[in-house]
Subunit: 339 residues, 2 copies
C-alpha cells in the first residue's frame, strides 16, 4: 500500500506560521534563539497540525539515530526476555529512543550481523545480553568504538560497561537458608564448567558451605546440561548415593523442576522429604507444585540500569566504563519447606 496520509513536514508548519523553516526548527529545538511570541506561534501551529520531525530526516544531519540495538538471542534465553525487553524499551522511551530489534541473518554469525548494523549506521549503541567469557561481540564493539552496555560480565570486564547479578551471593543465600532450616548434607546440580554465571553460582555454593563449617563432599556436586531430563538424571544419581543429600541446590529452575520430577517418581515430596531450590525465579518456579524456592534476579532493576548507563554514555560522551553488580533475592516457597 502506498504511503498515503500526506505526512506533516516542517514546511507545513513554516507555511502555517509564515515563518521560515529554520525558525521553526530553532523554535522547537533551541527555544532561546527565538522571540517568545514567535516560539508560541510555532509551538501552537506544530501542535495543531500534529507535526513530528521525521526520524530518518533528523538522523541525517544530527549524526544520531536515537535508536538502541538489541540482538534477540537465537536459542531461547530464558523466560525473562519478556520482562527485560519491556523494561529496556520503556526506559529507552523515557530518553526518546527506540529499540531496534534484530537477529542473526541466515548463514551469518551473530558478530557479522552486528557489523552489518554498525556499518548501516542504524543505531547509536547496543544492549548486549547472554555474554560469554571471550565475547566476540564485545571485541567488535570496542574496536568500532560503539557505545554499549552488557547484561553479564566478560573477560574484558574492566574495559566496558556492564550490569550483572551477583550469582555467587544468590547460591550462597540458598545454602544459608538450607543450613538455617537444619540441613547439613546439601548437594548442587550445576552446569558444565566454563560459563561465567555457572561457575559463579558454584563458587557461591562452596562459599556457603564453608561459612557454615560444612565440609564440601565432591560427590554432592554433579553437572548437567540445562534441561529437564538432565536435571532428573542428576537428581537420580544423587539420590542413589550411599549417603543421599537432604537438600538439593540447583543453578537453574529447570534443573530444579527435573529434580522435583525425579523425587515425585520415587514417591518422595519436595520440601518435606528433600528440599530443592532453583535459580532465576522463572514462571515455572511459581506455578509448579510444590512452588519452588528460587533465587530471583531483579530483571527490572537490571534493565533500567543498563539503559541508564547507555544513555549517560551517549549524552555525556565520556565513554567511561560503568559497572554494577546487583543483589539477587532468595524467594522461599514450599519446595524448601517454606510456607
Amino acid at each position: 500500500m502506498l504511503a498515503v496520509s500526506s505526512r506533516i513536514t516542517i514546511r507545513d508548519v513554516s507555511r502555517a506560521t509564515g515563518v521560515s523553516v529554520s525558525t521553526v526548527s530553532n523554535a522547537l529545538n533551541a527555544p532561546e534563539r527565538v522571540a517568545p511570541e514567535t516560539r508560541r506561534k510555532v509551538v501552537e501551529a506544530a501542535d495543531r497540525l500534529g507535526y513530528r520531525p521525521n526520524r530518518a530526516a533528523r538522523a541525517l544531519p544530527k549524526g544520531r539515530t536515537f535508536t538502541i540495538g538489541y540482538c534477540i538471542p537465537a536459542g531461547r534465553d530464558g523466560f525473562f526476555l519478556d520482562t527485560f525487553l519491556h523494561q529496556v524499551t520503556e526506559r529507552a522511551s523515557d530518553a526518546d529512543m527506540d529499540i531496534l530489534l534484530f537477529t542473526a541473518h541466515r548463514g551469518q554469525t551473530e558478530v557479522d550481523t552486528f557489523r552489518e548494523i554498525i556499518r548501516r549506521g542504524a543505531v547509536d549503541g547496543f544492549v548486549l545480553s547472554g555474554t560469554t567469557h571471550d565475547d566476540q561481540r564485545v571485541d567488535l564493539l570496542l574496536e568500532s568504538r560503539m557505545p554499549f552496555v552488557a547484561f553479564g560480565r566478560t573477560d574484558l570486564g574492566s574495559t566496558h560497561s556492564w550490569v550483572d547479578v551477583d550469582g555467587r551471593a544468590g547460591t550462597r543465600a540458598a545454602v544459608e537458608h538450607l543450613v538455617d532450616t537444619g540441613h547439613r548434607r546439601i548437594a548442587l546440580i550445576a552446569w558444565p564448567e566454563g560459563s561465567i554465571s555457572g561457575d559463579d553460582r558454584v563458587a557461591g555454593f562452596v562459599e556457603g558451605l564453608e561459612a557454615a563449617g560444612i565440609e564440601h563432599d565432591p560427590a554432592l556436586l554433579v553437572r548437567a546440561e540445562n534441561d529437564l531430563a538432565a536435571g532428573r538424571e542428576a537428581a537420580s544419581h544423587l539420590l542413589d548415593a550411599d549417603l543421599p543429600p537432604s537438600a538439593i541446590v540447583t543453578v537453574q529452575d529447570i534443573l530444579a523442576a527435573g529434580a522435583i520430577a525425579e523425587l515425585n517418581r520415587r514417591g518422595l515430596r519436595a520440601g518435606p522429604d528433600v528440599a530443592v531450590t532453583g535459580f532465576d525465579d522463572s514462571p515455572p518456579a511459581l506455578y509448579s507444585t510444590p512452588a519452588l524456592t528460587s533465587v530471583r534476579q531483579p530483571i527490572e532493576e537490571i534493565g533500567r540500569t543498563i539503559v541508564e548507563f547507555l544513555i549517560h554514555d551517549l549524552e555525556e560522551g565520556d565513554g567511561i566504563p560503568r559497572t554494577r553488580l546487583v543483589d539477587p533475592e532468595l524467594v522461599v516457597r514450599e519446595s524448601s519447606g517454606g510456607p
Copy 2:
C-alpha cells in the same frame, strides 16, 4: 562517545572506482543499467571497503524505512513473547527489514504512542498482538492507511489482515480427548466473559460436549481471572460440588496450575484422580509435576505467517486483507492420564 569509526559512504566507493556516485548507486540497486565491467568494479570495491548504505539516508528518498513496528505489551503477554518476537524478527530479517520495538510512553495511551510513531514516519507497517474486540489501534491504523497484520481477530476482522489460533478447535480437542479416555463429567474454568479468545475457547468446550452427546451442566462452568489463586479457588469450588467433575478443562495453563495446586492440597493427584488440561503449552506446563496436558499454539507458524502477510502487502501494495486461522495441537501429558 563521539561517533567515530569514519563510516564508509557511497562517495568513498565512488572515489575508489573513479566512477560517479550515481553509477555506484545504480550498480548496486539496478545492475541492468550499468555495464558488466563497471558493475564488477563497483561491487568489488564496495565489498572490499565494507560499504553498506546508511539506513536513514536511504529511507529519505525511498520513502520507506525498512522497519516494522511492534509495541511490546505492558502487562506480560504470556510466555510466547520470546518465541514470537524471535520468529518475527528472523522473518523480517529475511526480507531485509528490522523491528522497531516501542512501548507506551509514560502518561500516554498505547494508541497515542502508535500515532507518534506514525507521525515520525518511523516504520513502514506494524505487527499487532493482544487484540481486543474493538481495538483502538486497529481504528487508528486503518484510518491512517498504515499496513499492519494482527495476531488475533477484532470486530473489524474483515477489513484488515490477521492471523489467529482456532481456540475453539483447541478446547474442543481437549474435551474429545477426555471423552475418549472415559470422562463424562467434565468441567471448565474459563475467563470472565468478553474477550475474543476466551469466548472462543468456551464455545469449543460446549461444542465438544454436544458432539459427545453430553448435556452441558452450567454448574460445571466457572469463571476466574487469569492467575494462580483464582484458578485454585475455581477448582476448589468445583470439587466441593455434590457431583464433582472427573476432569477439568481450563482456558489457560496458569488456571490449570491453580487447579493442580488445589488437587495436591486435597491429597488428590492430577491425572489418576482428576484429569486436568491447560491451554498455551507454556513452559510451566512442561516443567510442572505432573506435566500438564495442554493445547499448543503454533507460535512459530503464526509469527512467520504474520510477517509474510505484512511483507507481501508492503511489496505488492495491494492492501487486500489476508487472514489465516491456524490449528492448535493438543499435547497429551500426565495430568490427563497420558504417558
